[in-house]
């Protein structure tokens, strides 16, 4: 028997749901037009007024919003509520150049936590459960999002944050955690550690809610088998709130989008044309209930397919497939968003060669990031101590920029393969999609 956190909304007949979306969309567009000069300018430029947007059928008339817009409007340019009504921010990983700061009113936090609570209940969570949250707490949305959802459901919540595997396993055993929330790669790592240390048979896990990075069905089966739980996928992005934009039900056949809060579209990433359900394209979201930081037709750059078929779990909200790739060059490494341009910025700032190669792989279920950089005659000195200093400085600067560790390897001048004169910048050996 399927459980719902908000049964009325989650199983609402589609016609009624679409009517609700239309009302909320019209009100949201009016709200941003009146309160956000940035949106007003974009709409004026396209010749669209709030009166033109009566319902979801008019959505396509609105201009898209991109990550570039977010950067341009940073930090307050897209704020739609008075700052005094905002109670929190979260931010994407990354740099000054790529950072996004999202604002939340208390209402926004409540609705976000509702979305996460739906995911926890769909994974079988009740007030009898012990929910161990090992997503990072802080600016990253993973920790506090699932934390809030777990609270709302009434689970005993363990705010572990990420890392310290020995402690994670100890709490998992001593407090008999039943639900595990973390990135799939960390779940795989925990599984291996649990088996190695022999605590595996003393664990009581029944469900895992895993997201923030791409993972395959093979990885799902591997984690499920090793930890003896059922693994549920969850999707979200800071721009829209965080995890819980979409979540998997017991059918494990795609993630239900919380359509009462987010309207999803699939577009051709090149032309911007809206594609019918079932076709593969870039996922675009409009947040229709956010007060502080509403996204109107925000291009996620995630490539996926939407499925409007009725789900046997009883939920009426459409499902999205796992992201199948990106329409930009962003890499997700250990759950952290990494743009090759960030790495290039660091290298050039440090006087390194513009000839570099980024190699991403997954070893023992954990992502690795290696950067090959060509040595230049200018940087080369006769001293290993000095070259090591350059390497260490690079590693530290990359860590500061990306938030994760990269291994730097100095290679000979002109040794990086060039195709048609241009170096192949990124080699991703993970085969995630």
């Amino acid at each position: 028997m399927e459980n719902y956190y908000q049964p009325k909304i989650e199983t609402m007949p589609r016609e009624e749901l679409q009517k609700l979306q239309s009302e909320r969309l019209a009100a949201q567009i009016k709200h941003v037009y009146e309160n956000v000069p940035y949106y007003r300018a974009k709409m004026d430029e396209k010749g669209v007024t709030p009166d033109d947007i009566k319902g979801i059928e008019d959505l396509h008339k609105l201009p898209f919003l991109s990550k570039d817009d977010l950067r341009e409007a940073y930090p307050y340019g897209l704020l739609a509520a008075p700052l005094k009504d905002c109670v929190r921010i979260h931010s994407t990983s990354g740099t000054t150049g790529k950072r996004v700061v999202a604002f939340y009113t208390q209402h926004d936090i409540d609705l976000w936590e509702d979305c996460c609570a739906r995911a926890v209940v769909a994974a079988g969570g009740t007030s009898d459960d012990v929910c161990q949250v090992c997503y990072g707490y802080g600016l990253f949305t993973g920790g506090m999002g699932l934390h809030g959802g777990s609270h709302k459901v009434g689970c005993l919540t363990l705010p572990m944050s990420s890392g310290n595997t020995a402690r994670q396993l100890q709490f998992m055993e001593d407090l008999q955690s039943t639900i595990l929330c973390c990135t799939p790669s960390y779940a795989a790592y925990l599984a291996e550690s649990a088996i190695e240390t022999g605590v595996r048979d003393r664990l009581k896990l029944k469900a895992g809610i895993f997201g923030a990075e791409a993972w395959t069905e093979e990885m799902r089966h591997d984690i499920e088998e090793k930890l003896g739980l059922k693994a549920f996928d969850i999707y979200g992005l800071t721009e829209l709130s965080g995890p819980g934009v979409a979540f998997e039900c017991s059918e494990q056949g795609g993630m239900h989008i919380n359509e009462d809060h987010f309207i999803a579209e699939i577009i051709n990433p090149v032309t911007g044309e809206v594609l019918p359900y079932g076709e593969k394209g870039e996922l675009v979201f409009t947040s229709i209930t956010k007060e502080a930081f509403p996204m109107i037709r925000y291009r996620t750059r995630d490539i996926c397919v939407l499925n409007a078929e009725k789900c046997s779990c009883g939920r009426t909200h459409i499902r999205m497939s796992k992201p199948m790739g990106r329409s930009d060059d962003m890499l997700i490494i250990r759950g952290v968003n990494v743009f090759p341009s960030q790495i290039e910025t660091v290298l050039l700032n440090k006087g390194m060669s513009a000839n570099y190669q980024i190699i991403v792989d997954r070893v023992n279920n954990s992502d690795t990031l290696d950067i090959n950089v060509e040595m230049t005659p200018d940087l080369f000195s006769d001293s290993i101590a000095e070259i090591s200093k350059i390497e260490k400085d690079l590693v530290n600067s990359l860590k500061a920029m990306l938030g994760i560790m990269a291994k730097v390897h100095l290679v000979e001048p002109k040794s990086i393969t060039r195709s048609e004169g241009k170096a192949v910048r990124v080699i991703d050996n993970r085969k995630l999609y």
Binding site: M375, P377, F380, E412
Partner: protein, 132 residues
């Protein structure tokens, strides 16, 4: 006396050294001394050749990352204690040695020592005094 030592950046991979020495061989450059300092990813190859200026041109043209440094080269009797005597007098004056390597001299009974020190001028003065 000073010699021109050429240092070259080489990746720590099979065949890299052969690839480099072939460049010298093809241009008829004779190696007199060779030393490799290695790390996990790369090595610094240090060489002394018969014609450093020509060798430098060739290395540059072949696209290697390299540096030419003046290193102190001394000839000592090939017998126990002769190196210690020199090193002790440099140490007494606070000269620090970054690295050193030795090779046989063509002159019978002598050995050549290359010393890379933190102060070439001062070291050279000390050694001249020692010889006089």
């Amino acid at each position: 006396m000073f010699v021109k030592q050429i240092s070259v950046f080489l990746e720590n991979k099979a065949g890299k050294l052969a690839e480099f020495t072939k460049v010298l061989a093809d241009n008829n450059i004779d190696l007199q001394a060779l030393l490799i300092a290695e790390t996990q990813d790369y090595g610094i190859l240090r060489i002394i050749v018969d014609n450093p200026d020509e060798a430098t041109e060739i290395i540059k043209k072949s696209g290697f990352a390299y540096k030419v440094t003046e290193a102190l080269a001394i000839t000592v009797p090939d017998e126990p204690g002769s190196l210690t005597k020199i090193l002790a007098s440099l140490a007494d004056e606070g000269i620090s040695i970054k690295y050193s390597y030795a090779f046989y001299s063509r002159e019978h009974g002598k050995a050549n020592i290359v010393l890379r020190v933190d102060d070439n001028e001062k070291a050279s003065e000390i050694l001249e005094k020692l010889n006089s």
